[in-house]
């Protein structure tokens, strides 16, 4: 009861403050009136009666203050008063307030957008129950330089059975696609093969129907599939209607048994169909089941088992397998990492780098606003001194100053959140597809909370400088110093230090951006080894019915002929895999060169199957020997063309043409020996930033495959080529649907798109940072110029020339900027090592970048300090002196 009453009274005091004050006034007035009347009745004169009443009452204001304190809400009222005063001050100086709010908004907005991405990718857990127990198992081969590569099926099965720390282990294919027919027109879908326990390991429940059973990992029973919510809606109208439907996947009748929830996502993959592995149980004992590595493996740890403990047991099993299967596993290591870490992968470095960059940007923004506030504090120095002299507590002044900073940062924060909301959407929309391995990037509650916290912190940070400064001043001095005395030395010192900090931070940002720009510039001048301009790549996956090499070659031969007849088409060729597509090479293997010792082999070799026209169509130059010809066909001498990298590394100047090579580590009677007939230029198959692999091409006629990529060079518009190619394919066989259709140029660009995107982001941040720093330099120099106008006037009057007096200001600016630059260079030297992974052929301490950036910043900063100097020196000396 008592507490409620107190709270009620205090609330009334707080919210009905005006009424409470008025009531008190009225009470006191009545009291004084009655007392005065009494005194008059005693015979006092009216004035004397009133005076006596006041004396007896004893200090009206003191009583009121005591009453206010008694309400127990004093500090809240003070806060409101402070905020009102702060708002009034902000309104009184709109230019300064706007500048501060914009500066803060830029800093907080950039942080919001980047933090949204960091939050979505790095901080937010994966969307699976107990996702922290999911780990990724991969294979390493130190001899071949494999790191976290796909695993062989037989090894996967042994891990699943032998490691007791795992509750269960599932596997899936990284990619995959299928032609789906039997509903309407045949369509191409992204399809992933998974083990039967895949969904139960992830603990994903179907929206309709069922998930696969463990037994469905193996062949037997009718083929089944699970489809995405999107496909079910699109093809069947509803989830329920899809269940039990039979479709044809690559020509095989398949029953749809389940539909996944709409929000199911594994990394950013957009698969529509999942099929069980349906392995033949016989395969398990076959050597290829342990030699070919093509599975991603995800395990769920038993409750209470740490990844470290699981890894220890896992490594024991891996070691056992090395002993048991020396032929395939002798140097095969394995690796266990939390699934989240694996999926985040390389983008973590980039995101943390960007987060650090926007952090620097925010610091620059804070320094700038602190500078603005200092300038403002300068104008209010006398006010502060007067208040101190009149007995205001220093704590009260400090609080007032902090409140002002917080009000300012609240406005900046609001504008920053708006900017950040927009920036987050832009970031999500503009990121190169798949760069951020999550379904969505958006501002959620945790981002909001973090940003509100950051805003408050920001207010405290930039509020610090002016507060400390003003609280340490001795009022008497300030008041004595008079009108011109605003130029306190300590204040100037603070402002200079802030500019030093800004310049240093801006330099660090710009060096980072400069390194990325130079990397990207280098990257753009790397020779891809072919001419991708005007080339369209069309993936073609032949369905069942094209099982023999002969039928495959017949179809592709006929298709080539028809496409070649299309208007505008210059060249037509085929390859197993187009350059820049995913891994770039079709597959890799061991190899052995005839006449060399058995151990004379190093890293693995990449393979591609190509038609004779491939090299001319893509303008890949011949270095020695010959290209393939139609005579290199099935049944003729097996031949191969190698790339320069292989020629250089393994033939060391000798002519490789005519030598023989086989793609087995230990050749035996079954090995196919291929004669090297030519050497071609290196192609950056795996992406522009990746050194070309050593590589061997084999004629498509000798290595037929049901999946090939058609490469069509046109004189005209690449995009306009797609419909006629679809048409001629449909004319040949309506069940053959093109897989991915992409211009080669775009694939090349995609291989460096992440770097380009990160570079642009950093450039924007760095430019903003530099701009803010220059504003800071300009602001401080303007203050300096203003303070020395009088001195300049006297000097000019005494005959000094304008450049001489300008130098007074510029020299100071130069000193400040130089100190900033030196600190910035030191900081950048220490920090850039961390971004080595993002650089390309540019060392983290690249002297060119450091020097260029420093000189550019120094020059612009010089300009920013020269301008105010110029203006100050142009003032009319007589006028300035009279103004005193």
């Amino acid at each position: 009861m008592g507490l409620v009453r107190v709270v009620l009274l205090r609330c009334r005091a707080l919210f009905r403050r005006a009424a409470t004050e008025q009531q008190l006034d009225e009470e006191i007035r009545l009291h004084l009136e009655l007392e005065t009347e009494k005194n008059r009745e005693r015979g006092l004169a009216p004035d004397e009666a009133r005076r006596e009443a006041l004396v007896r009452f004893g200090g009206v204001e003191v009583v009121k203050e005591a009453h206010r304190d008694g309400r127990g809400v004093r500090w809240i009222e003070d806060a409101f008063t402070d905020a009102r005063v702060a708002l009034r001050l902000l309104r009184r100086n709109p230019a300064l307030s706007t500048a501060a709010v914009i500066t803060l908004a830029l800093g907080i907005g950039a942080n919001t957008a980047i933090f949204s991405a960091v939050n979505a990718v790095i901080l937010r857990p994966l969307p699976f129950p107990h996702a922290e127990r999911l780990v990724m198992l991969s294979e390493d081969n130190p001899e071949k330089g494999w790191r976290r590569q796909t695993a062989a099926p037989a090894n996967y099965l042994d891990w699943k059975e032998r490691v007791h720390a795992f509750a269960d282990v599932a596997a899936y294919t990284p990619g995959g696609g299928a032609t789906m027919s039997g509903i309407d027109t045949p369509r191409r879908v992204r399809a992933r093969a998974v083990t039967g326990n895949y969904f139960s390991v992830l603990q994903v429940r179907p929206e309709a129907g069922r998930v696969f059973t463990d037994a469905e990992t193996w062949k037997g029973g009718t083929p089944v599939a699970i489809v995405s919510h999107r496909l079910a809606q699109d093809a069947f109208g509803s989830d329920g209607r899809a269940i039990g439907r039979s479709v044809s996947l690559d020509g095989a009748r398949t029953e749809i048994v389940g539909v996944l929830p709409q929000d199911f996502t594994f990394a950013a993959d957009s698969f529509d169909v999942w099929q069980p592995m349906a392995w033949d149980p016989q395969s398990r004992s076959q050597v290829f089941f342990r030699r070919a590595h093509w599975l991603r493996v995800v395990a769920r740890l038993k409750p209470g088992v740490t990844p470290q403990a699981a890894d220890a047991e896992f490594q024991t099993v891996v070691h056992q397998l090395q002993g048991e299967y020396p032929l395939t596993n002798k140097v095969m290591g394995a690796d266990l990492v939390p699934l989240h870490d694996f999926l985040v992968g390389d983008v973590r470095t980039a995101l943390l780098f960007l987060q650090a960059a926007v952090g620097l940007l925010l610091l620059i923004a804070c320094a700038n606003v602190a500078n603005l506030l200092l300038a403002q504090a300068l104008g209010r120095e006398r006010e502060a001194a007067l208040r101190l002299a009149l007995g205001a507590g220093r704590a009260r002044l400090v609080r007032q100053a902090f409140t002002e900073s917080l009000v300012l940062s609240a406005f900046g924060g609001l504008a920053g959140l708006a900017l950040g909301w927009w920036g987050t959407r832009a970031l999500a929309a503009l990121q190169p597809a798949g760069m951020l391995p999550v379904a969505s990037v958006r501002m959620d509650v945790s981002v909001l909370v973090a940003m509100v916290g950051l805003t408050t912190l920001t207010g405290l940070v930039f509020g610090l400088a002016p507060v400390f400064w003003s609280a340490r001043r001795v009022p008497a001095e300030v008041l004595k110093e008079g009108e011109r005395a605003g130029t306190s030395r300590r204040l100037r010192h603070w402002a200079d230090m802030l500019v030093v900090g800004e310049v240093a931070l801006a330099l660090m940002l710009t060096v980072g951006a400069g390194l990325l720009v130079r990397s990207f510039w280098r990257l753009q001048h790397v020779e891809p080894g072919l001419d991708p301009h005007g080339v369209l790549a069309v993936g073609i996956d032949l369905p069942r019915g094209y099982d023999s090499a002969a039928t495959q070659r017949t179809f592709f031969g006929a298709l080539q002929e028809r496409v070649r007849a299309l208007p505008g088409v210059v060249d037509v060729a085929e390859a197993l895999v187009a350059p820049f597509a995913g891994g770039g090479v079709g597959y890799t293997s061991d190899f052995h060169i005839a006449g060399r010792p058995a151990n004379d082999y190093g890293t693995e070799i990449g393979h591609d199957y190509v038609t004779p026209d491939y090299f001319t169509a893509l303008r890949i130059p011949l270095r020695a020997g010959r290209y393939f010809t139609p005579a290199d066909r099935s049944g003729s001498v097996p031949v191969t063309i190698i790339n320069e990298a292989l020629a250089h590394r393994y033939f060391r100047g000798a002519n490789p043409v005519g030598q023989r090579i086989t793609f087995d580590k230990f050749p035996d009677s079954t090995s196919v020996w291929r004669t090297i007939v030519g050497v071609v230029g290196d192609v950056r198959q795996s992406g522009m930033a990746i050194e070309p692999l050593i590589e061997a091409y084999e004629p498509a006629a000798q290595q037929a495959n049901s999946y090939m990529t058609l490469l069509v060079r046109t004189r005209g518009d690449v995009a306009a080529l797609t419909p006629p190619i679809r048409r001629v394919m449909a004319e040949l066989d309506a069940n053959v649907v093109p897989d991915l259709v992409r211009p080669l140029e775009r694939m090349q660009a995609r291989s460096i798109a992440d770097r380009r995107f990160i570079m642009w982001l950093l450039l924007i941040f760095a430019a903003t940072g530099v701009l803010l720093a220059l504003v800071g330099v300009y602001g401080v120099m303007t203050q300096l110029g203003r303070r020395r106008t009088r001195e300049m006037g006297i000097r000019l009057a005494l005959g000094a020339r304008a450049p001489q007096v300008q130098w007074l200001v510029v020299r100071h600016g130069l000193q400040v900027v130089l100190v900033g630059l030196v600190l910035g260079v030191a900081g950048a030297l220490a920090a850039t090592q961390a971004i080595r992974a993002l650089l390309f052929e540019v060392p983290p301490r690249d002297p060119t970048t450091f020097v260029t950036v420093s000189v550019m910043l120094a020059l612009t900063a010089l300009a920013a300090s020269w301008l105010p100097a110029l203006r100050a020196s142009q003032a009319d000396p007589a006028g300035v002196l009279r103004a005193e």
Binding site: Q23, L30, E35
Partner: protein, 110 residues
């Protein structure tokens, strides 16, 4: 001139207000007059300090107040003792008397 009035002992003001209000509800000035009258001018209440004291008592819940029109047709805030305040007056008076008695003994025995 009356004898120099002694300051109201700190802390006793609350007790005096409660005692005064025990007779009838009163406004601030009325309370000050009553205390002066009854103490025959010995106790001089610093009239202003009544108001923070009244606020304190109100927060404790010992008095409450309402705006009423006075005998002379003026609006005034009248303070009234709550039942809680009445109980408090009893215990406060008792402890005051014990205090006075104790001080008295000390002075007499010295």
């Amino acid at each position: 001139m009356p004898p120099t009035p002694s300051d109201v002992l700190r802390g006793t003001l609350d007790l005096l207000i409660l005692k005064t209000l025990a007779l009838e509800p009163m406004h601030g000035w009325g309370i000050s007059q009553r205390i002066e009258q009854i103490s025959r001018g010995v106790l001089d209440v610093n009239q202003g300090s009544l108001y923070p004291a009244l606020q304190r008592l109100e927060l404790k819940g010992w008095v409450d107040s309402e705006w009423r029109t006075s005998d002379h047709n003026r609006r005034a805030r009248y303070y009234r003792l709550t039942p809680q305040g009445r109980r408090a007056l009893g215990t406060e008076t008792e402890s005051w008397q014990r205090y006075v008695a104790a001080v008295g003994w000390i002075l007499e025995s010295a």
